[in-house]
Amino acid sequence: MQIGLLCALIPLLPLLGFVINGVGFRRVPTGLVGGIATLAVLASFLIVVSLFMSFPAEGGPQIVPLFDWISVGDLHIPFSFQIDQLSLLMLLVVTGVGTLIHLYSIGYMHHDEGFGKFMAFLNLFIFFMLLLVMGANYVIMFIGWEGVGLCSYLLIGFWNKNVSYNNAARKAFVMNRIGDLGFLLGIFTIINTFGTVEYVDVFKQATSLPMGDTTVLVIALLLFVGAMGKSAQVPLYTWLPDAMAGPTPVSALIHAATMVTAGIYMVVRSNVLYTLAPQALEVVGIIAIITALLAASIGLLQNDIKKVLAYSTVSQLGYMFLGLSATAYTAGMFHVITHAFFKALLFLGAGSVIHAMSNEQDIRKMGGLRKALPVTFITFAIGTWAISGLPPFAGFFSKDEILAHVFEHSKVLWALGVLGSGLTSFYMFRLLFLTFFGEFRGTAEQKHHLHESPATMTIPLIILAILSAVGGALNLPGGGWLSHFLEPIFEGSRQVNPEAFAESTIEHSTEYVLMAVSAGVALLALIAAYVMYISRKAVPASDEADRSMPEQVIYNKYYVDELYEAAIVRPIRSMGDTFYSFGEFAVDGLVNGVAWLVKQSSAQLRRLQSGSIGFYVFAMVLSIVLIFALRFFIRF
């Protein structure tokens, strides 16, 4: 079949699914809803696989123009797709993991009265996510970018009777919009610099620019502001933990596996621009490590199973950016993929636990679940092992590759990265132990209801667990498949800065030492968690318990939300009130003042109309004299 049509079908099938389930909400039989939605994504996945199989190795990008979207003067923004190694990889992840999560949602959500709506929104999300990764220019990426933000909003606030869920949804949308403004201004600067937004043309022109070009720096930084919003980096990260208000499959699909990695995709897509702007990469690196450590430290003390995973996601996204900041673009993408596997797995596992626990999310009330939920337990344990960076599972390889590149770049960042990796291992095993080991701490009723989830939920868990276990094979140390596959994407970067892509100068022995150090730290953290939560059977204190000062600060997430509330939200609100009461009064007062003046002067003028003929004649003569005088002095 024609490649253009095939490409168009990839996003159109989920869109079709959305339309069927959306328009037919409450009319399509519940039994069909899940099937339609899942099949739509599965079909896209199969098309992507066929494209992937037939894509020539080291082939250049294939552009599929659909139609002329926006055209003004010399500016042409076509609606077009680009198929290359990078988009294929993202397409595989989005549709592949997407299919699994759709399948899982059938089990998880089919009792909900809004089931049809839910599946429709998931399909819509896939549609926009596909536009995001398939677009051949920045504006198409922006469509997807904002579209996934909309779906995120709709799905976080899915249970819209709850006011705090709605607030979380709104917060996510608005915070993303702050980032989007940066993205938009970045696009404008690209337009004004290159006269086009098409990736191929922009990057081609960019390769002829000198390193450290100021305009490119500005573009790179503005685009990164967008990435901060979507990928939840400091300071725009606080929406992501709140986004856990959405149903758990949403957290797995949108807020872990796909949407939040869009920022990494954007930077990798624009790698030429970032390679040209080393200062921008410095900024990325600093933001990344701050985010990674801040979020990991908050994760240490969280007691909500989804919140722990949410902070862990924020932290892992920081790692991906950390890799990018060391121009280790492949390593960043590698971690995007492995993270999609194990984080989706962990969230779905958490969903399975929440399902079994009758919607309980507090790990202090769980414990000992491994007997009742064996499949969930084993898969969750594999996910935990993988994310903690312990060999031989996927996270070990991808995180290690990032840290190795960072080591070359900056020893300080590397040390901090290893520290963060230890924190990750600790809070993840804390989560695992508190949930699945020890004694059950919930109510008797909950205990009675405990059950393993149905097959639609466990099959995705098993598949993702396998992928999390063996995913590391995608890019084994010393030039794996992924590095080779993605090579053409970084051709431009290599051209502008060959040094950044030179063969690693690190000895193999050093590399093994580095690996051992990070794995060792993770293992130590595991042991620490084991001692605390299994040997000593510690259970985190209740919310009201007394905490030491630093503990209190971390438990309250460093009071960042409160800070934003006090420093930004409230001032804007009171500004609104002031403008409305005082500002409008003052402006209106000015207008009324002018009106009053006119009225007063007309009252004076009226006196001239006295009715006395003598006065009129006098005024007339005076005027004529004046006119002549004026005429004499000023010639007009």
Binding site: V139, K161, F173, V174, L184, F188, M575, E584, V587
Partner: protein
């Protein structure tokens, strides 16, 4: 000739409607408005996309003075005649669930208004433009003053005086321009707008003319700080009148900027454009911050409209092709969205007797249709890509950003604040727990749905395939850019 039909047909049917006063009046008005829509769509679909004025007519009016009855449609008029043609029947239809007293007069005034608007957007003679510009004020004044809310008399009076005051400056400018035109055969001067374009005015004269026009149009739109008549008028007017005001009438101001200020006073803009653009951007931010705190739905939409209009004005003053094209497409998009939003407020008010957000909530529970339409219109207003609002805002913001990066950034706050106040409005009205007033909220009736359907179709059409509209205006915009371009060069 088509233009003549577009202008005269509503006025003629309005005269007939004055004679009726029965229950069928609104059906007649709706039918007439639909015929007008057909004419407008016919004009749109047969328009040849080039820079010429088409479907025109030209008769002597005051031959000795060179003033003519001349009107026609060019690329810039086209979208506005289409907007007027499409919106009026929807506004008429939106009244079907309400009984307005003296329907004959009510609907006749709406159609008179449509005639005047068509006249404004197509006039090719300066004085004819002025005539329609003022004529449009009369029906809307009576609509607001006779069918408005409790506080309508002082509010509409202020609106009337304020806009008349502004138009006086425009009249002065027009008279001045008229006297500058060279003699033609048969008369001493000409009031054709194209002849105004040919004038080579001195820099100081351009400054005066710029301000005279600016004040008139700035009040109409309105631009900060000439806006204080607007929120009160929007709130107090009956909703169909508000829709006419916000959906169509305020575009007279932006249209005026494009039609007169840009080509006639390019040096005036060179000198004063920055002041104007700064005022516009202040309006964007100021209006949206106020909108965040509003409790009354109508007032909230009024401030949001004020903020959005600021962006259109700023785009025009950026003197860029994207800014101009953005303003044109956004006029159409804003008309669609703001009418939709006001209609939502009206639907909610008609069922709950309140527009106060804190008395609403949970409406979505019983209203799948309203929820979906409201959501789509709202997304159009927050400029989500693939909806109509995005195309306009993208181009406008690009124009302003190209003019000045910092102003672009400031104007860009509209996408953040817009999301804040519109999502807040949506959430407070539709989500959360129900209140006593919203408990038994009935979903849309058939006629109400049919108001939304065309609007929603336009939201997507303009967002997904805007070229349908933009390729019509492109030659006219390119032509306009020539006037700006020549002076920009001659200035240097």
């Amino acid at each position: 000739m088509l233009t003549l039909a577009l202008i005269l047909f509503p006025a003629l049917t309005a005269c007939l409607l004055l004679l009726t006063n029965s229950g069928t009046t609104r059906q007649l008005a709706f039918g007439a408005a639909l015929i007008e829509t057909a004419l407008a769509i016919y004009a749109f679909s047969t328009f040849t996309p080039n820079a010429t004025s088409q479907f025109g007519f030209d008769y002597p009016w005051i031959p000795s003075l060179g003033i003519r009855l001349s009107a026609g449609i060019d690329g810039i008029s086209l979208l506005l005649t289409l907007l007027t043609g499409i919106l009026v029947p929807l506004i008429v239809l939106s009244t079907f669930n309400r009984a307005y007293e003296r329907p004959g007069t009510f609907y006749a005034l709406m159609l008179f208004m449509q005639s005047a608007l068509m006249g404004v957007f197509t006039a090719r003679d300066g004085f004819l433009f002025y005539f329609f510009f003022e004529a449009a004020l009369i029906p809307i004044y009576f609509l607001a003053a006779m069918w408005g809310g409790a506080n309508r008399i002082p509010v509409t009076f202020k609106f009337f005086i304020y806009t008349i005051f502004g138009s006086l400056f425009m009249l002065l400018a027009l008279v001045y321009l008229y006297y500058q035109t060279p003699a033609t055969t048969g008369s001493a001067h000409s009031s054709a707008i194209v002849d105004f374009y040919k004038l080579k005015l001195s820099a100081s004269a351009q400054g005066w003319v710029f301000w005279a026009f600016f004040i008139a149009f700035a009040i109409k739109m309105p631009v900060f700080p000439f806006h204080t008549w607007q929120p009160d008028t929007y709130v107090e007017s009956p909703t169909p009148a508000t829709m006419l005001l916000a959906g169509i009438m305020l575009k007279m101001g932006i249209y005026g900027l494009i039609r007169f200020i840009l080509p006639v006073t390019p040096i005036g803009i060179e000198t004063w454009g920055q002041t104007a653009i700064i005022l516009s951007v202040i309006g964007i931010v100021y209006g949206s911050i106020i909108a965040i705190r509003q409790r009354d739905m109508k007032r909230l939409i009024a401030y949001s409209s004020f903020s959005h209009v600021g962006l259109m004005a700023a785009g025009v003053f950026s003197q860029t092709e994207t800014g101009l094209q953005g303003a044109l497409i956004q006029m159409l998009a804003h008309g669609v969205n703001v009418v939709g939003l006001f209609f939502v407020a009206d639907v909610i008010y008609s069922r709950t007797d309140t527009r106060q957000l804190d008395q609403l909530g949970g409406i979505t529970r019983t209203t799948p249709k309203l929820t979906v339409y409201f959501m789509i219109i709202m997304l159009g207003s927050v400029a989500l890509p693939l909806t109509n609002g995005f195309i306009g805002e993208f181009l406008l913001l690009h124009g302003v950003y190209s003019y000045n990066h910092y102003l672009g950034l400031a104007a860009g706050f509209t996408i953040i604040f817009g999301a804040v106040y519109l999502l807040r409005m949506f959430q407070k009205a539709m989500f959360g727990p129900t209140t006593a007033r919203t408990e038994s909220f009935a979903d849309l009736t058939l006629s109400e749905s049919w108001v939304f359907v065309p609007l929603v179709v336009l939201v997507f059409w303009m967002g997904v395939y805007p070229q349908t509209f933009m390729k019509m205006t492109e030659p006219a915009v390119a032509n306009l850019m020539k006037y700006i371009g020549t002076t920009a060069i001659s200035m240097k």
